[in-house]
Amino acid sequence: MNRDMKILVVDDFSTMRRIVKNLLKDLGFHNISEADDGSTALPMLKKGGFDFLVTDWNMPGMDGLELLKRVRADESIADIPILMVTAEAKRDQIIEAAQAGVNGYVVKPFNKATLQTKIEKIFQRLEAG
């Protein structure tokens, strides 16, 4: 896993963005950008250069599920691995996110170890092809 990869963290709560950013830094990632909802995130992703997307689900404007669908529908960015970090914990929602093409799903409240495991798993699977 490349620790220099460019990561976009999307959450409407600045507190949560700050937490995720700090945890990612703690895990050795330093190239991190932020967006506060899907509508802000999508143009940033389309501009290119992002290797990984960590997004919340419940956000005003464009929510995380819509963002996930839009990313998967756009050929130029469709391959970006996406980790959803959200308080949405209904089985139907998790299934919906999985069907929409999410690579990992972490339910809030979470901890550093869970985040680390999920990220490692996503990239191990991608590297294995």
Binding site: D11, F13, S14, T15, M16, R18, I19, N22, L23, D26, W57, N58, M59, D63, G64, L65, T86, A87, E88, A89, K90, R91, D92, Q93, I94, I95, E96, A98, G104, Y105, V106, V107, K108, P109, F110, N111, K112, T114
Partner: protein, 252 residues
């Protein structure tokens, strides 16, 4: 049975006869009109009945002095309740950000402390290895455990700082829960304003301050954090392990 509720009346007999005659004669337009006339009456009755109920509701509200109270509720109390909850979100966000800033600024100090003690430890060790001065070697032997403990304790403090960092997650979760309550209060406010408009001569007097009513998007939507009381409900996962099991069932 009162006259109002009676169905078999002279009027209805006449209408049925008219419809029958029109259909027998094959007159499409006349038949349609006759049919429409039959359907129109119950609607008018319904509207009149709703109107009467609304008037009675208005009179009742006014008589017991409730209308003023409801107007106050819609104009002042409910918007104020939303302000208060928003204020709680703002305050908790500020507090969480102050805590996070404290954690973030502590990390470099801690790292520097660990790095320096690490380097000093190495230098002292190589000095001890090459020195003939027993007193100095003895002194170095006494200092080394302290420097090692700095590294160990530093790691513990670092773990605690991560705990403090993670604890600030409460602001997101409580913020989302309060957001949903604010949304609900706004809906109550809007419905109350509509009710007061319908019942009163105060039409147009009551001004809801908040924005549009929420629109449903259909399909699967975000529902916000699951509360402890909801965790036992069907269809809600109660741990990350359950999420992982579910995804693994789906081939993840």
């Amino acid at each position: 049975m009162s006259e109002e509720q009676q169905f078999i009346t002279e009027e209805n007999r006449r209408r049925v006869a008219e419809l029958h005659a029109a259909m027998e004669s094959g007159d499409e337009t006349r038949a349609r009109e006759a049919f429409a006339a039959m359907g129109g009456e119950p609607d008018r009755e319904l509207f009149e009945e709703v109107g009467a109920i609304t008037r009675r509701l208005h009179e009742s509200l006014t008589n017991i002095g409730l209308e003023d109270h409801l107007v106050r509720l819609a104009e002042d109390d409910l918007p104020e309740a939303q302000d208060r909850l928003n204020y709680v979100i703002t305050l908790t966000e500020q507090a969480a950000n102050r805590t996070l800033a404290g954690v973030e600024s502590s990390v470099p100090y801690l790292e520097r402390l660990q790095e320096r003690s690490e380097k000093l430890l190495d230098r002292l060790q190589s000095r001890a290895d090459t020195s003939d001065n027993e007193e100095l070697v003895d002194l170095i032997g006494q200092i080394q455990p302290y420097l090692r403990s700095l590294g160990r304790d530093g790691r513990k403090v670092s773990e605690r700082l991560t705990d403090i960092l993670m604890a600030q997650e409460f602001q997101d979760i409580t913020g989302q829960v309060l957001g949903r309550v604010i949304h609900m209060v706004r809906e109550v406010e809007e419905n109350l304003v509509d009710l007061l408009r319908i019942t009163g001569e105060r039409l147009g007097e009551v001004n809801p301050r908040s924005g549009e009513a929420p629109k449903g998007k259909g399909g699967i939507e975000a529902e916000g954090p699951v509360l402890p009381a909801q965790q036992a409900e069907d269809g809600v996962v109660s741990s990350q392990d359950e999420v992982d099991d579910l995804l693994s069932d789906l081939g993840f």
